[in-house]
Amino acid sequence: MEGKSQVNQSQNDVVIDRCASKLSDLWEKEDYWAIWLGFAMLLVGLFIYLSNPPAALHQKIDKANETLAVESTRAPFKTVAWYKAVDAKKLKATSTPIGKKVKLYTHKPHGWSGNPLNAFMMDKPAAEAKKRKAVAKYEAAKTKETAALKAAKTAETAAAGAGFTSETLNAEAVKAIDVWRDTHMKASKAKKKAKAKPYNQIPYLIGLSIFLAIFFGIGKKAMGNSMTKFMVGFGFVFLIAVLSYTASTNVTMKHFGIGYAAWAILFGLIVSNTIGTPKWVMPAVQTEYYIKTGLVLLGAEILFGKILSIGVPGIFVAWVVTPTVLIATYIFGQKIVKMPSKTLNITISADMSVCGVSAAIATAAACRAKKEELTLAVGLSLVFTSIMMILMPAFIKAVGMPQVLGGAWMGGTIDATGAVAAAGAFLGDKALYVAATVKMIQNVLIGVIAFCVAVYWCAKVDCVPGERVSKMEIWHRFPKFVIGFIAASIVFSLIAQSMGNDVSYALIDHGAIRGMSKIFRGWFFCLAFVSIGLATNFRDLKHQFAGGKPLILYVCGQSLNLILTLLMAYIMFYKVFPEITARI
């Protein structure tokens, strides 16, 4: 990720940037191409999903909100009708015919357990057999759900009959409703599996490969490189990316939280360190190009409105503790651990305190960390995520910690998002919802942190000690793709805000974001990690790990994170805002 426009050596052997911006940068520089390509994709996403909303969207939402308003004043707990109204609002633009088409053409390899070929194709007899099994399970789950709903309605009617004044009847109704929700969730999951159909993903993957080769190739051509050479090498990089996704969709790997990033780096490393990366592949080994474009797409997924999802306590847990831990860990790394590289220090500090891989990518790109440093930070995060995903819920359960507190603690400390959901689900629905919401608020912080790191690096780190850097010089040095990243976040946040939570859930969250940005961003990051592996030597990685300092930094930072997050979550959810905890 290194790379400066122009580097001079001063008399003191200090590296100084002497940059200048030109109008031609707009079509010659990678940072700008990342912005153009990213925004082109986002505009296509907005066009597709805003012009194809789910049928009767506003009427359904209005009707559901009327019910919710009535139910929230009628009963002191969430009633059956309250939950049904919320379910009725789960409308998704991605479920429209065009949304399904986009999914089909861009789908990553399917989930599989025994035979890896099932990631790519399944014939009719196999699909039929799978469907028969799933339908039987769904019917059983549906029967249980119907019985649980009946029991929930009966209990609620009894509580209503007493004017909702009997604590015993209210508690029984809540319990029965919880049981119904659990059976409802199981039936919904079983229903999805009962829709098993035959598929052959290979032609679509080939088509996607060609599309992406042209998509990135146009930028390479404009930047003065050979489009043909890029496209030839791209096929190989894409193939390794497909293999990485295939490994990550294995059911056992999902259980261990080992995702595509780990596999992409590993597969790339194996190729480069055994048979060697073929020379004809190198024109397509473009880590920064893929990462920067992916980050512009990621910007669209950072919606600032989300930070209010769980009120003030969530903001304190995610937006006060996290930056505190990040800054404290960075200072600790510089002053006490004496990390040999500032960029490695900030990348590890960010991935440990914010949200693992995504934060590591954004921060590393913002401060121009080396690819080996990003690999090391991601590796540390993945290992500790797997450990914490298993140990934290077990500990919380063993000590009898309340679900809200445990969920907030895990959401604020476990790095990877998927692992947070798994650990939360292990404890229960409440823990899952709180953990997921806190993590989501923390995810939004990535934009702010990437921007601050980029500015700090331009103004303070990449300069001679004591030198005062002018505003223009900061602008010249500033990684411009960060502007695209922040702009995408602001634009999408404003669009989502103007629509309101319910409509933006259908058209932005489950439209332009999950139906476009998320899909391509995943592919771009996967291509970037493959590129890192293909261009990295094991010895370089070993060198980065010298003395175990990165490990010491991670462990100390995470320990502080665990203590502060638990303390803040307890104070906010149980001392300052107990009424919010009671609502959850």
């Binding site: 009963a75 056992t252 790997m253 261990f256 995504s358 997921a436």
Partner: protein, 88 residues
């Protein structure tokens, strides 16, 4: 060094590299199909594996938009805050 020695050194190098590649593939196969499946049956890991399977969670994803449960949590929390049940 004559050409035959150079050629045999080159061959040995290719064999070494291919052996390295196959050793890595073997290690991955062992890890994915034998070690991890055995580990997930242990009492420490089994409960969390069951929780993941019950909900079909993508536990190896990296951002909130990639995990369905986050969307569930989001809509649930938004409505809980907007339409909270009345005080008893």
């Amino acid at each position: 060094m004559d050409s035959s020695m150079l050629s045999s050194k080159k061959t040995a190098d290719v064999v070494k590299r291919l052996a390295g590649l196959f050793a890595c593939i073997l290690a991955i196969v062992l890890f994915m199909f034998y070690i991890c499946p055995a580990l997930e049956q242990t009492p420490v890991l089994k409960p969390i594996v069951q929780a993941i399977d019950k909900r079909g969670i993508n536990a190896n994803m990296y951002f909130y938009t990639e995990v369905e449960e986050f969307s569930e949590a989001n809509i649930n929390m938004n409505n809980t805050m907007a339409y909270p049940p009345r005080s008893p």
